[in-house]
Symmetry: C2
Subunit: 394 residues, 2 copies
């Protein structure tokens, strides 16, 4: 079996080196940039169907070592699985029930990992979503500030307005909107770690009374249209297909007639639930975002519309997210020793693969990022948005 | 029955006057602004269920006279049907087979009516689709020029590029793009009248060799990716739900990798085929756009995506279309005597109601207008669009 594997791998001619459990090394192609370390003979069988999920899982569990620059690891991992299993591979994404308790547990798994760990590689405001590069030459801090401004501008925030931030993370957007646009912000999250640090930062910046953050499920929001605007960033990916109509209805109920609702999040490539990325989705589901479910843009548009919201502006920021993740991944790679002090070795392995892998996935169009702006029409069906979007670019 | 009708109508207290077949007049509310003329006793029964389709049909067929400002006619017609039949009403929109021959006949019915008639009330370039008001203070000519420029900018047209215009009408966009952006344009239409006048204008402007217009079905387009960009304005409404996947596939096949595809058209309010507008849709289907079928934005996004195109930018211009139609309607109302020399009395009645009615429908959100920009990704999944949309507003 090993002989067969070696023959197959050599046929592909990728710049890979193989190191076996006994220390034996073989080059599979010229000038290897990545070394695969098979710590265990059982790995030989796994390579017969090397989906990204299987390779990633073996790495997380310590059976497979991956040595070399993380971007090369991802690139060659994909080339390898493409050569050996082709375009297919991977199970269809799972659809789950998404009760409040399991949602809370799933959110906690990811976001309560360690504030200090996230602070190592996120920007100074700890904005954990796609940044916005106005020229492509910005650093991460600049691009995240630009993203926050872009969102606030799209929402046409006016001083004194009430903004709801659904899935507020560490409160970066909430504080920015209060500080720069003079709005009152109510942010909700299901992560206790995020809430604690978010509240601390609100206090440190003297924004108490203008930014209120709390632990709350989106299903427990007030439904009296008390907010002028609603923003939701990196949130609908956690809601689950089964609950998307309810989620959209709650956003509709929360905002006043004439108010605006922004959904910014990751969307899937296919409408029909086909797997994409040769098993990468399974890896994400198992190790990174349990119970995450990416809707297609069409599904978000349909459900927003079904709730009575009118979609007025959609923008893809796919390549912005590829660049954001490259920044995050590079920053983490530069601080691996510190990271190892903050999280378990297995978590670190997961996050290394996930950040570099998602950069690759966005760059290659396996997944997308859409900002979807919708308005809740006034009683007569009209709205008061400006005629054009020119105000976003002044 | 007449007594019952009168009691019901009087209860609504709308500013309507009723004139019966015998000349008898009754005011149904204070200060009537519109007179309903029942030319025939059979109309009494129709008023028991006065859908906009039934009222409009009776008017077209000469059984019902409508006297007064056309916008008031529409407003009161809607108020009347709302009061008497409520929010429901109207059959679900029809879905048809859309063979080439029936599509050609349907297009001919509407667009071959009379070039001179359309010229009476359209702008000087005869752009028969939603204009673009940058400030709201523009006249129709300015707003249509701005729309053509907005489309060309969204397509990032560069001199020497090849542009396909699917459903090119009288060639206004094709000539503008060639003249102002230096591209080579291939426009196709199914209307012989549009083609004849479009070609004449190309010749008059000395654009032969840069703009080629021809009679062709979208299903007969070249599929070799020869175009750099594709634009389709007011076209997908005629394709039919059953053929939307094919239509999107043909756009995908026509454009090169990295190329852009713009779909600008009218979208429905509901995803589930519910009727909207108290029978207005039936009126449009019967008298105005036979075999027209408005897809929801979500449906267009899904089908474009299914064909391999990536949706990068969506903009609603709903209130722009309300204003455009108000311009058209007002211009027609101001030239009714000339119009009556150009088309049959019945056609004129249809067009009067349709233009004013659609202005009302867009203003009230019964239908929408979306510009949907998509890219055909390069082989590696990337594309070369600018980082932001700021270039559209410089």
């Amino acid at each position: 079996m090993l002989a067969q594997l070696l023959a197959a791998l050599r046929g592909i001619q990728l710049p890979l080196r193989l190191r076996l459990w006994d220390g034996h090394e073989l080059d599979l192609g010229p000038d290897p940039s990545v070394t695969l370390v098979l710590h265990d003979p059982s790995m030989v069988a796994q390579f017969a169907h090397p989906s990204l999920s299987a390779l990633g899982g073996a790495y997380v569990e310590g059976k497979l070592g991956l040595e070399g620059p993380i971007r090369e690891v991802i690139r060659l991992g994909d080339a390898l699985s493409q050569a050996l299993i082709g375009e297919g591979g991977g199970a269809a994404p799972k659809r789950r029930a998404h009760a409040k308790a399991t949602d809370a547990a799933a959110i906690s798994y990811h976001y309560d990992l360690s504030n200090d760990f996230y602070a190592l590689w996120l920007d100074r405001e700890m904005v954990y979503s796609c940044a916005y590069f106005e020229t492509g030459a910005e650093d991460l801090d600049q691009a995240q500030q630009a993203k926050l401004r872009h969102l606030c501008r799209k929402l046409r925030l006016q001083p004194g307005e009430r903004l709801l931030d659904v899935g507020c993370g560490w409160g970066g957007l909430a504080r920015f909107a209060a500080r720069e646009f003079g709005v009152q912000v109510h942010g909700i999250t299901l992560s206790k770690e995020q809430l604690a640090l978010g509240r601390q930062r609100v206090k440190d910046e003297g924004l108490e009374g203008r930014v209120e953050l709390e632990l709350r499920d989106y299903r427990d929001l007030p439904r009296d249209g008390r907010y002028d605007k609603v923003v939701s960033v990196g949130m609908f990916e956690h809601v689950g297909h089964i609950n998307l109509p309810t989620y959209c209805q709650r956003l509709f109920d929360a905002v006043r007639p004439g108010g605006l609702v922004m959904n910014h999040g990751i969307t899937s490539k296919y409408t029909d639930g086909r797997p994409v990325g040769r098993g990468a989705g399974e890896f994400i589901d198992r190790y990174v975002f349990p119970h995450g479910e990416l809707p297609h843009l069409a599904r978000m548009v349909a459900d927003l519309s079904g709730a009575g919201l009118e979609v007025v502006d959609v923008e893809s920021l796919r390549l912005h997210y590829a660049r954001t993740l490259e920044f995050w991944s590079e920053r983490l790679e530069n601080r691996l020793a510190e990271a190892a002090q903050l999280v378990e070795a297995q978590s670190l392995r997961i996050w290394r693969l996930y950040l570099a892998g998602c950069a690759y996935a966005f760059a290659h169009g396996w997944i997308n990022l859409h900002q979807i702006l919708a308005v809740k029409p006034l009683a007569d069906g009209s709205h008061q948005l400006p005629w054009t979007r020119a105000d976003l670019y002044r």
